[in-house]
Amino acid sequence: MIKKAIRLFLLYFCLALTIVAWSTSNDSAKLKVQFEYQQF
């Protein structure tokens, strides 16, 4: 039972680690503000 629990823990830990490694808040839809800069 403990062996199984440890295995599951490691599995979910690796899964969470992968998600954390691949997710980011950097939005790809950055506005091209330098071009809008002149439009006033």
Binding site: K4, L15, A16, S25, Q34
Partner: protein, 378 residues
């Protein structure tokens, strides 16, 4: 009801794994240490990064550094040796913290300083760099709003009677525009929308992942720690040969091909904009003027040592420079009313090589700005 033991084991182990992974970075996020950051260009970041930026700005405003508040002039001058945050920190050893990102205007400057109102006092040394075009723009794209006024800056402002109407109106003006994320308190004002909620939740999750990743990278030293210590205030205003600095800056311009052949602009800008463009024929935006006046009044009431500079404008890149005159007169009279020293590079005789494009300062213009700041605070 009998719960399947296997399912219970899976759920509890999944929760345990998530807890083990997330608790250390979450705890560390609340225990930030004071770091010296000479240039800050956005208030966005992970919780830890935001805390560090807040601490840096707060410490600087308490009188531990000259605080330079500008706009894109700051972020686009990182390489210029005489940009104030480079020259003062590295050559004069006088601590300067500069804040500035694209399109930072008077409303953002007023909001940002209002957020740190408790730190403003007679020891605060503040330089305001005004972008002439910002006075003609009543609103900014939501991305700019998000960059400079995230929840950590915005939310406390709602309790301030003076600044709350300004930021609320400013946020409401972005209605209908495409956003990447807004906090829930901002949505309460701007209006609820399922897609905005989804974006915010996804952003919050991404931000947490950034926090956790940075934490573990730092632990296993994948991410090299940056210099952190606040410089000791050993720097004195020793004599500077400004003419020699100007000569160095002219050489720097020459190296970067900012010459008469490109009408004193960078070759890249000149190639993209060979003809000058017309300055806006609209009058200055009321919202910006109101915010600017409130800002100067607030600084005066807090006895802040404040000085102001306005960018030079390249006559080879702009037609109808005189259209800025109205805004300049308002700025001048407001600053005069509160006895704020003003370095008006718009009104001064134009020096070739001051701008790398239509507005942004070159190293040569930075020398003149540095000289003014030096004389005012020495």
């Amino acid at each position: 009801m009998k719960i399947n033991k296997d399912i219970l084991l899976h759920v509890s182990m999944a929760l345990a794994a998530i807890l083990v992974l997330s608790l250390p970075p979450l705890i560390s996020g609340d225990h930030s240490v004071l770091k010296f950051q000479p240039m800050i260009n956005t208030m966005v970041g992970t919780r830890k990064e935001q805390n560090e930026k807040m601490m840096t700005i707060s410490h600087a405003l308490q009188g531990n550094a000259i605080f330079f508040l500008g706009a894109s002039e700051v972020i686009w001058s990182g390489e210029e040796p005489h940009a104030i945050f480079n020259y003062f920190n590295q050559n004069l050893h006088i601590p300067v913290v500069a804040y500035g990102g694209v399109m930072v205007d008077s409303v953002i400057q007023y909001s940002l300083l209002s957020r740190f109102i408790q730190d403003l006092n007679s020891k605060t040394q503040l330089v305001l760099l005004l972008s002439p075009d910002s006075f003609f723009r009543p609103k900014v794209p939501p991305k700019i709003f998000e960059d400079n006024l995230p929840a950590v800056v915005f939310d406390p402002l709602l309790n301030d009677r003076e600044v709350a109407p300004v930021v609320t109106q400013y946020l409401e003006m972005t209605r209908g525009d495409k956003i990447s994320h807004l906090s829930f308190s901002q949505m309460q004002i701007r209006g609820w929308n399922i897609s905005d909620i989804k974006k915010e939740m996804s952003w919050q999750f991404g931000s947490f992942c950034d926090l956790a990743r940075d934490f573990y990278k730092e632990k296993i030293r994948l991410k090299k720690a940056q210099p952190e210590l606040w410089p000791s205030p050993e720097g004195k205003f020793e004599a500077v040969d400004w003419e020699s600095q100007r000569q160095q800056a002219r050489e720097y311009n020459k190296e970067h091909k900012i010459t008469a052949a490109t009408h004193w602009m960078t070759p890249e800008y000149f190639k993209a904009h060979p003809k000058p463009y017309d300055w806006s024929s609209r009058p200055p935006a009321e919202e910006q003027i109101v915010a600017f006046k409130k800002l100067i009044k607030m600084l005066h009431e807090r006895h802040v040592q404040v000085i102001a500079i306005v960018d030079p404008m390249n006559p080879s890149a702009i037609n109808h420079r005189e259209r800025y005159k109205q805004a300049d007169e308002i700025v001048k009279s407001t600053l005069k009313e509160y006895q704020v020293p003003y370095y008006d590079m718009y009104e001064m005789p134009y020096q070739n090589g001051w701008n790398k494009d239509y507005l942004h300062p070159t190293d040569l213009a930075w020398v003149d700005m540095d000289h003014f700041v030096y004389e005012q605070f020495k």
